[in-house]
């Protein structure tokens, strides 16, 4: 791949670079870990965190009000459901976008995919709290658990509440799995950075307050001994992509299930067959909008313009424009279909939305959700961070209004037997929603403070692919400590290509060597040279998914048969279709967990890392690729390896540094 930024066709796309020319493997690690390992966060962080905590306090007050004052009365508020659905939509949209970008191998995702994954996970968590906490009464979990009945009469297996609870739990599991697998190599980089900072401080050459030992230990614990070996990287790629595929499937299943659940329900105004597409497009649009707004803010506050370039802004705005056009299509098609073929109630809702009591909701959808994205037809607008943040926030507001129109308005019909004021937004709804935003922001700020918000490993891949190689000082490969027994020989290389050539040269003559190759990025060339015997992770994922899905289905069927006093074959025949969607969701979550466990077990994690250290020998994980050869036959073997490595051509496998490790 050419290193010339002018000649490379991919870099000429849209006339912007995908990564700044001066970004290097070591520089990226320093920049991103510097945000986390800084002695104290910037002032902006404290201000934002205080604001978020203030909103959480409001949330807590509303909870106390619910528990203490209204525990005996039922909570009937479609606005709460709209808010819950909005958060779920953001989570689903972000998860789908990050999964599709990862599966498609889109290069520019590298710098922004972590933010999308974080939004997905936090959105799902906030939706979970939103769904559970305001209920605040004994037995509030009953509708959500299919194996418990509210009064022991009819287990609510077919209840949408059970679907939602299962789906949301599975969504959190898959989001967390995708997020953690992507984070794993970066946690190792953080661990190394924290330990080095602590050591430098102990030697007296560090400035400021060092990261605490506890923090280094936590990073070490979370990184589970990741070393960055070629085999680990290969499994990591496979696991990451497999979980992304499961995540994309989960979003489609859950969105389709929720839409069918809504469209098939009694209230009028929901029976449109385009509703599943509208909801999916709206979810992705709100997810991309929120993610885009956060990307712009994070880029500006942490000065990440070299990693998140104007090219990223351009692509994000194009995505928002295309999704906005798709949303426009859905709204126009639904409205036209209603006016042409809809019943009187549906046409009445459209008329009220144009010039009636619902006009403020309809026009909010148009003004916030559909019109602002059209500004991205202008090339200059697509490069403006301020506009992207503004439009991203506006489309999220528009999507919220869309949920209100769908859920609240349809429940305000005469066909639904609820009190007239049951679905009128009250102060409690507003403070609860504000509290949920505070919870999201507080969690996001904590993530920003404690974990790398830009994927170090993936942006390093970009730097290696697009930028000129870093200058590395060559270290003479001469014999040292030759009079003591040798346990290992370590060799450092400037590029993956050199490391792969060295591995091929060593294994080409004698496959009995035990070699271990490590590096800061995935190394498919080195993995191919090592030729280890590997079983694909996806097979484990498939088997586990099937087992989990069928197991959950069997649990539900058994419950329908035996737990219900009305448990008969007829009941089973009528109810089994309701179990299918939750079972698919559980299957996908089980597959995610199985992939995670397989990744860790096959990589023999957790373990203690055994880095070769020493004067003149650079650590891998910064800008070097490292080869370790285990010595079994004493000095002859060690010298044979050392001579063979030193005898390789300078541009085809000769290490830039070598070190012998005594027994």
């Amino acid at each position: 791949m050419s290193a010339n930024p002018v000649q490379h066709p991919k870099q000429r796309l849209y006339g912007e670079r995908i990564i700044a020319a001066d970004e290097t493997v070591e520089g990226i690690g320093r920049t991103v870990t510097g945000i986390v390992l800084a002695p104290s966060p910037p002032v902006h962080w404290w201000i934002a965190f205080a604001g978020a905590c203030g909103l959480i306090v409001v949330f807590a007050v509303s909870l106390v009000h619910l528990w203490a004052g209204n525990a005996a009365t039922p909570v009937v508020s479609a606005l709460a459901i709209a808010s819950y659905d909005w958060w779920v939509g953001i989570a689903h949209g972000s998860l789908l976008v990050s999964a599709v970008l990862l599966l498609a191998g889109v290069e520019w995702r590298c710098a922004v995919i972590r933010i999308a994954e974080t939004v997905a996970l936090l959105g799902a968590i906030v939706a979970g709290f939103y769904a559970l906490l305001p209920l605040g009464r004994p037995g509030w979990l009953d509708p959500a658990l299919p194996w418990r009945g509210a009064v022991g009469l009819l287990p609510p297996f077919g209840s949408p509440a059970a679907w939602d609870a299962t789906g949301l739990a599975c969504c959190i599991v898959v989001c967390a799995g995708l997020w953690y697998v992507g984070l794993l190599p970066d946690l190792a980089t953080l661990r190394d950075g924290a330990v080095e900072a602590a050591q430098a401080r102990a030697k007296g050459d560090g400035a400021g307050r060092p990261p605490s030992l506890l923090r280094a230990r936590v990073f070490s614990l979370l990184a589970v001994g990741w070393r960055g070996s070629a085999v680990q990287w290969q499994r990591w790629i496979e696991a990451y992509r497999a979980i992304a595929l499961l995540g994309a499937l989960l979003v489609i299943v859950l969105q389709a299930g929720a839409s069918v659940e809504l469209a098939g329900s009694a209230p009028p105004g929901r029976h449109d067959t385009l509703l599943p597409v509208t909801l999916l497009v709206g979810a992705v649009l709100s997810g991309v909008g929120i993610t885009g707004a956060l990307i712009v803010v994070i880029r500006a506050v942490y000065a990440l313009g070299g990693l998140i370039t104007r090219r990223h802004l351009d692509v994000l705005s194009r995505m928002i424009l295309v999704l906005g056009l798709a949303s426009l299509y859905c709204h126009v098609a639904e409205t036209l279909s209603t006016l042409l073929h809809g019943d009187a109630v549906a046409r009445g809702i459209v008329a009220r939305g144009v010039d009636g009591d619902l006009a403020w909701i309809s026009w909010t959808i148009v003004v916030c959700g559909l019109l602002p994205v059209q500004v991205f037809w202008l090339p200059r607008a697509r490069r403006s961070g301020l506009l992207i943040a503004l439009v991203g926030a506006l489309v999220a507001i528009g999507t919220y209004a869309d949920h209100v129109m769908l859920l609240v308005v349809s429940l305000q019909s005469e066909a639904v037997p609820l009190p007239a004021d049951a679905n009128v937004p009250g102060i409690g709804d507003v403070v609860t929603f504000a509290g949920s935003i505070g919870l999201f922001l507080a969690l996001l700020l904590l993530v920003l403070r404690s974990l790398p918000i830009v994927s170090i490993a993936q942006t390093r891949q970009l730097a290696i692919a697009h930028n000129a190689p870093e200058a590395t000082a060559a270290v003479a490969a001469g014999p040292d400590d030759t009079d003591v027994p040798i346990r290992q020989i370590g060799a450092a290389f400037a590029t993956e290509k050199s490391l792969a050539a060295a591995v091929s040269a060593l294994l080409g003559r004698d496959r009995g060597f035990r070699l271990d190759a490590c590096g800061p990025v995935p190394m498919p060339g080195v993995f191919a040279a090592l030729r280890p015997v590997e079983h694909p992770i996806r097979r484990t994922a498939l088997v586990s998914s099937l087992a989990g899905g069928f197991g959950f289905l069997a649990l539900c069927l058994a419950g329908a048969l035996w737990l219900s006093p009305l448990g008969t074959g007829a009941r089973l025949q009528a109810s089994w279709p309701f179990f299918v969607l939750p079972s698919v969701a559980v299957a996908l979550a089980t597959g995610t967990l199985a992939i995670l466990v397989t990744l860790l077990v096959r990589s023999r994690l957790p373990q203690r890392s055994t880095a070769i250290e020493g004067p003149g020998f650079p650590r891998s994980g910064r800008n070097r690729f490292r080869l370790t050869a285990e010595i079994r036959d004493g000095m002859d073997d060690a010298e044979r390896i050392a001579r063979r490595l030193a005898g390789l051509p300078a541009d085809a496998g000769r290490p830039s540094a070598m070190r012998r490790v005594p027994r």
Binding site: Y14, G264, V322, Y329, A333, H341
Partner: protein, 388 residues
């Protein structure tokens, strides 16, 4: 005479002997110079027989799904060609025979526009609104009137022909265009196609039913059209050679399209069937006979087969799945319209004759369409550039 010279003279004599053989009927029909005339003759004969057997109404009821299959080739190829072109722009790739075939299918758009004329003449026979059936809403009473429908159909085909001319040309050339990528062309093409595809789905397909309509029908029909066009392209496209061979995975996009199409069908059925919408129940009841259920099972099996075959792709497997998918999509188009006009889903001899007739007319009219629209002539593939 040397052995080589002797072998050459023998080969020459064999060639002369072959060319001197009397031409068979098949060879006569396949001769490119006579293909158009033969197609026109067969098409006219088959359609005449169809109208003779089925009468004016029965013939038109069979003509409509046959014409929809023809329209599906260029209208379905359009978004797929745009998406492939865009994907090539993101990641520069050599041109493939599949993309060339999709572009060739676009040249059928003027033919489809020409063959829509009988349907426009037979509006009262095919569409209840044109026969004076009551309209469900005030807007529908204006929307479904002959002048408005004719205007929409004319505009739709004008736009579609313009888009076909735009995208039938080799405009991709990502390696040549890198640095001046024009996403506007793709967004414009897809947007206009979605708009007019949805309108035509309502005007020419769903309107065949008196009461029932589904707002998903536009996307559903466009997904079916694209599956049909891609299946046909996979079936007839020659294997790639050179650097393009790296992109042999033709089945994955077809499997994705089929999955989307099937998912939309399932979602629509799940939404409509449990509700008390009598029109929807009647619409599904007309299609729920043994033939309809068999088609549903067959279609589901093909979708699963397509997904499973992507795990172990191969040229012949891809062609087999494409042939099955093509059959499913053609039957599905008939499933959409004929039960609304006949009350049940059946495939008759008249349907088959109408299909042969429309296919023959399309073959016969294509050279004429190319003469009137020179922009539709697809240029030959350029030499493949070095792979990045």
């Amino acid at each position: 005479m040397s052995p080589d010279a002797h072998r050459r003279s023998l080969a020459g004599a064999r060639v002369r002997a072959v060319t001197a053989l009397p031409r068979t009927a098949r060879a006569f029909a396949l001769d490119p110079r006579r293909r158009a005339a033969v197609g026109l003759g067969i098409g006219a004969a088959a359609l005449s027989l169809a109208f003779l057997l089925g009468g004016w109404r029965g013939g038109m009821v069979s003509y409509l799904p046959a014409w929809l299959c023809l329209l599906a080739l260029p209208a379905g190829a359009l978004p797929v060609a745009i998406m492939v072109e865009r994907a090539d722009a993101w990641r520069p790739q050599p041109e493939t025979a599949l993309l060339e075939t999709l572009r060739w299918l676009l040249t059928l758009m003027p033919v489809a526009a020409c063959l829509v004329l009988p349907i426009l003449f037979a509006l009262p026979v095919l569409y209840p609104w044109a026969a004076g059936a009551p309209q469900p809403s005030p807007l529908a009473a204006i929307w479904f009137t002959t002048p408005f429908v004719l205007a929409r159909v004319c505009i739709a085909f004008t736009v579609w022909i313009a888009l076909a001319i735009l995208f039938a040309r080799r405009g991709g050339e990502p390696w040549g265009k890198a640095g001046r990528i024009d996403d506007g062309r793709a967004v414009l093409g897809l947007g206009l196609h979605m708009l007019f595809g949805s309108l035509m789905a309502g005007d020419l397909v769903m309107a065949a039913s008196a009461q029932f309509s589904s707002s998903l029908s536009g996307l559903l029909l466009m997904a079916g059209w694209s599956s049909l066009a891609l299946s046909a392209a996979i079936l007839v496209a020659p294997p790639d050679v050179g650097p393009s061979r790296r992109r042999l995975d033709r089945l994955t996009p077809l499997a994705i399209l089929l999955a989307i199409w099937a998912a939309m069908h399932i979602v629509q059925a799940l939404i409509l069937r449990p509700t008390d919408l009598t029109e929807a129940a009647a619409w599904y009841a007309a299609r729920g006979n043994a033939g309809g259920r068999t088609l549903a099972v067959f279609a589901g099996a093909v979708v699963v087969l397509a997904a499973a075959t992507t795990l172990k792709p191969g040229e012949y497997r891809a062609r087999l799945v494409a042939a099955l998918a093509l059959a499913v999509q053609m039957l599905a188009l008939a499933w959409l319209v004929t039960p609304s006009l006949r009350g049940t889903f059946t495939i008759t001899l008249v349907d088959t004759l109408a299909f042969v007739g429309v296919a023959g007319l399309a073959i016969g009219l294509q050279p004429l369409a190319r003469r009137f629209f020179p922009g539709l002539v697809v240029a030959g593939a350029a030499p493949a550039p070095p792979h990045h």
